[in-house]
């Protein structure tokens, strides 16, 4: 017996674009004729790769094409790819919502999928009734739901509302209850599509924690689609990268997320290394310019691990405010790696800067580990409010192009957010 829980062999799925109308019946007839004569489907032969941005010659596209992979029992696998890459189609095939055009999927153990939170919830029924209904839709038997009922209610944290119709719930409560039901499924394989985007931060953390328990604690297999690379990296050990319906790579999650990030093209709104803002005269102060460059002053989006990144920030102060404080924040995968306040180096600035234009050159922390970073610049009143903010306004990418043997911790396979050398003193 091998240790494989899911085996996907040559899976393809073709979709028909455009509307279904009178023309469709003629093509249906042609396909039927081809089939009874034992020939290949004539429409699949003209099918094209799924690139949504370009106009193709054929109406048939491959949403997935020749996908092959195996998943071992107990693995948590993250599936990444841009919109339309085929992630959801793959999950739909795995959860038997629709069937593949060619190929086969073999599965060992019970499979439960959570493509949407609260499927089948009926607004008129109470929370209690919906727990049973939803559980049954997801494939639980009544006694199983009864067994987990208290856990579900506890996990959801909506005990007080359990006998109220769910249409009276806030959307957050609704999602909490729905996820709670799904989280208590007794299946060997759990499929989860980007459902954590809803719910507050605390609950998202709880959900991820629960999923981590499921995969690492209970040894169940988890397949997880998300655009939040932070949570994917946190939860999954393996990954699959899909692009235009084909499997680009399967392997360790760090490798996969890096490939995925690299693949995002540098177009407007993406890798932005310089930006000018219009004046906002009604504010006490506003940011006018932000840019990233190397130490020679050349503005560029990509840097080496050991190459310092320099931020140029310009802003205008309209009136002097007590507690005034410009802030730089650098994030990676949505997590703040470090930040810096002007008041850290110049406490007098807190007494309020004089009106006029101010310009700073800030050398960011170095070395940075490989990955995509986002820079936020804020003008704030310390611990009170923001005057102006440019959230994630600039982005840059750091790659390993050079090598410094004295700082090995920069290597991307070392699981750490920052690259640093610590002082090891032998006693």
């Amino acid at each position: 017996m091998s240790n494989i829980a899911v085996s996907v062999e040559n899976i393809s799925k073709a979709y028909h674009l455009g509307e279904i109308g009178t023309g469709t019946i003629t093509s249906d007839f042609e396909r039927w004729l081809a089939r009874i004569r034992g020939k290949e489907d004539p429409f699949l032969q003209v099918a094209e790769a799924n690139d949504r941005t370009t106009k193709g010659a054929s109406d048939i596209v491959w949403s997935l094409k020749d996908i092959n992979f195996d998943i071992n029992k107990g693995d948590a696998v993250g599936i990444v790819g841009r919109n339309g890459a085929g992630k959801s189609t793959l999950l739909k095939l795995l959860s038997r919502v629709t069937s593949p055009t060619t190929g086969s999927i073999k599965i060992k153990g019970r499979i439960a999928s959570l493509l949407e939170v609260g499927t089948g919830f009926h607004p008129e029924l109470t929370g209690r009734e919906n727990i049973f209904l939803n559980g049954a839709i997801l494939g639980m038997r009544k006694h199983e739901i009864k067994k987990h009922f208290d856990d579900i209610v506890n996990f959801s944290g909506v005990e007080r509302y359990i006998d109220t119709p769910v249409k009276r719930y806030s959307s957050g409560m609704y999602v909490r209850l729905a996820f709670a039901v799904a989280a208590h499924l007794d299946s060997e394989i759990l499929i989860v599509d980007e459902v954590l985007a809803v719910g507050d931060y605390e609950f998202q953390k709880k959900c991820l924690g629960k999923m981590k328990d499921v995969s690492q604690g209970e040894g169940r297999t988890v397949l997880f689609v998300s655009h939040n690379l932070g949570s994917i990296k946190n939860l999954c050990s393996k990954g699959i990268f899909l692009k235009n319906g084909t499997l680009q790579q399967a392997g360790d999650i760090d490798l996969i997320t890096d490939m995925y990030l690299k693949d995002i093209p540098l177009d407007e709104g993406d890798e932005r290394c310089t930006i000018n803002f219009a004046p906002q005269p009604d504010k006490q102060g506003y940011i006018t310019h932000l840019s990233l460059s190397d130490e020679t002053g050349t503005t560029k989006p990509e840097y080496d691990v050991f190459e310092p990144v320099v931020l140029t920030a310009k802003y205008t102060v309209k009136e002097s405010v007590l507690g005034f404080c410009p802030i730089v924040e650098v994030k990676k995968d949505g997590v703040v790696i470090f930040n810096s306040f002007l008041s850290d180096v110049d406490e007098t600035a807190l007494e309020g800067q004089e009106p006029g234009e101010h310009s700073y050159i800030i050398k960011l922390y170095s070395p940075l580990k490989k990955g995509r970073y986002a820079v936020t610049f804020r003008l704030g009143v310390l611990r009170v409010s923001d005057i102006d903010a440019a959230e994630d306004a600039l982005t840059f990418y750091v790659d390993e192009t050079s090598f410094d043997p004295t700082i090995r911790s920069y290597a991307s396979f070392r699981k750490a957010l920052v690259a640093t050398v610590l002082d090891w003193k032998k006693q």
Binding site: D28, D70, I107
Partner: protein
């Protein structure tokens, strides 16, 4: 995890997902596993329909009462159609109660795929559960309306009207099963056919209405045979006619009953139900892409 190598063919897999599938692979084992869902869906239908209404389940009564009153007025008072000596309200109520069950089953199952597309698109369970739950929850409704019908029978008995309640009433469960299966079968065929081409959906609502008039709901079979001997075969070979006639015969003693016509009806029902389940199962795998 790795890009897959050819796996050992002798290995045991719990589930294999492939395109197409066998014609007679009906997932009946799956349906059995999901029986709790069936019960809960029936409960959901029953509980949710009349939530936030004042009269609640009383609405089950109001519709047949008004329809009966209307039929009595139109067909007995205006058109003067005979009811074979049965009090007209009772005659029509019998027809309406039975017909409604069949019609509701047909109407509601025929839109299974469209009504549940959002659920079917997100989670797998044997799709057959949905039409089955419709048939069963309609059974509850039918039961309630039957109580009304029985109350009427008792009322007329007390007031001294004589009619022949007879042993054919024992066929009642058979009749209910026939109605349910026929409604289910036709409904599933229509729902499967309308996933891609919606044309049939337009036919259903008024088609059911037309079908009602070619069934002996509003007139006795004997009158039709007598007045239009040429076209009466249409009515006679309508598979619902024997059902309504037997129903009426059992409870009221009117109408015709024959084993042949009931057997004919059973054969039609069985074929429709089997064809329905097969077509339905073929469509359920792919319908999400086209509906």
């Amino acid at each position: 995890m790795h890009i897959s190598t050819a796996s050992n063919p002798e290995e045991h897999w719990d589930l294999e997902i492939k395109p197409g599938g066998k014609l007679f692979d009906l997932h009946l084992k799956d349906v059995w596993h999901y029986r709790d869902l069936l019960v809960l869906l029936v409960r959901r239908d029953f509980v949710s329909i009349y939530k936030q209404t004042i009269l609640g389940p009383l609405w089950f009564f109001i519709q047949p009462i008004f329809t009966t009153a209307m039929y009595v007025f139109i067909f007995t008072n205006l058109a003067g159609i005979s009811t074979e000596g049965i009090p007209p309200p009772l005659f029509y109520m019998a027809g309406i109660t039975a017909w409604n069950y069949f019609a509701d089953c047909l109407n509601k199952t025929s839109s299974t795929f469209r009504d549940n597309a959002h659920i079917f698109g997100k989670v797998y369970f044997p799709r057959l559960i949905m039409p089955l739950s419709v048939v069963i929850s309609n059974l509850v409704r039918f039961g309630v309306q039957l109580l009304l019908f029985i109350a009427m029978i008792i009322y007329y008995m007390i007031t001294g009207v004589h009619f022949g309640l007879n042993w054919h009433i024992l066929l009642f469960p058979v009749i209910v099963a026939l109605m349910g299966c026929m409604g289910l079968g036709f409904g599933m065929i229509i729902s499967a056919l309308t996933t891609k081409y919606r044309d049939l959906a337009f036919l259903v609502t008024f088609g059911v209405q037309l079908l009602m008039y070619s069934t002996t709901v509003t007139y006795p079979l004997s009158t039709a045979l007598e007045k239009f001997p040429k076209y009466a075969w249409l009515i006679k070979y309508n598979p619902m006619t024997p059902v309504i006639e037997t129903f009426r015969h059992g409870f009221l003693g009117s109408g015709s009953f024959s084993w042949q016509s009931l057997a004919f009806c059973a054969c039609v029902t069985a074929s429709v139900a089997i064809i329905g389940v097969i077509i339905f199962n073929r469509v359920e795998k792919k319908f999400v892409d086209t509906v």
